[in-house]
Symmetry: C2
Subunit: 149 residues, 2 copies
Amino acid sequence: MVQRAPTAEEILSTVRGSDRRVTLAKRTVVEVLVRARGHLTAEEITSAVQRLRPEVSPSTVYRILEEFEELNIVVHSHLGQAAAVYHLAGAVHGHLTCEHCKQTIEISAAHFDALSKELQKAYGFQLDRHHVALSGTCARCRDNQRATR
Amino acid sequence: MVQRAPTAEEILSTVRGSDRRVTLAKRTVVEVLVRARGHLTAEEITSAVQRLRPEVSPSTVYRILEEFEELNIVVHSHLGQAAAVYHLAGAVHGHLTCEHCKQTIEISAAHFDALSKELQKAYGFQLDRHHVALSGTCARCRDNQRATR
DNA sequence: TTAGATGCAAAGACTTTGCGCACTT
DNA sequence: AAGTGCGCAAAGTCTTTGCATCTAA
């Protein structure tokens, strides 16, 4: 398994190697994803892409992201009820999202090990650690709630 | 803590006791919720309500559900990326949703005990066990995936 | 009486789809 | 040359909001 972040060229090779075409729009999306530090919404990706290539449309970005997911180049997560966020596939991690302030905390996938085994044993269910964020209340919002009461 | 399911009258008392009005639409929503066995989407609730009172509009149902959440009468969960589901507040439980077939499995909240403590200790994060379903692959879909490869 | 609640319709947020043309291979 | 992929615009899904009217208390 590759642990380091892939380069733009490596990603485009994957695209080429799977009977898909390498287009300007795809190159630009790859560029944006490789440069990005964290998670980006489709809209953020679109904006960043359009800064480089104004003609690229949102629907194209969605289609490219869908293709990239099929090729295991990117994954997306739902951090709340808002837009999904995308990032390069790689180190799997989990997310916590505060229901109140919407802040997201990234956590190690290891936190899920015990639960994952339990669900596997009890229900044959294979947990996906990154696709959906766990919901709850962050420390700060919890303190605020207490102070208010 | 009340463990048994509340009656319609008890629910309406809660509404009365909080400076809100008891309307026909609210009575009907309560009736539907009390009768319902499992989780219902807002649309399912609306349909059921309209069978009894055709004039009640979807927006009213959403507003009533929102009010009922404030009063801790109902809770809603997001089982996937589709519509949220609502049910009477009461016994907390968790959900697993299969990313492939969208099937949902209800699980005991106890499964989350260890994880919950861990997140509390590590991040001060208080896990909400029912608000968002855990995502993954159910046993059947996993078998199908294996057979396909 | 009078403010909260409702019905209707429109808007909003996010994402997908249809179609004809362009660009990659 | 052939057909995938694209841009544009429209549609789709779920939910919220504005506003005039109605109604519970």
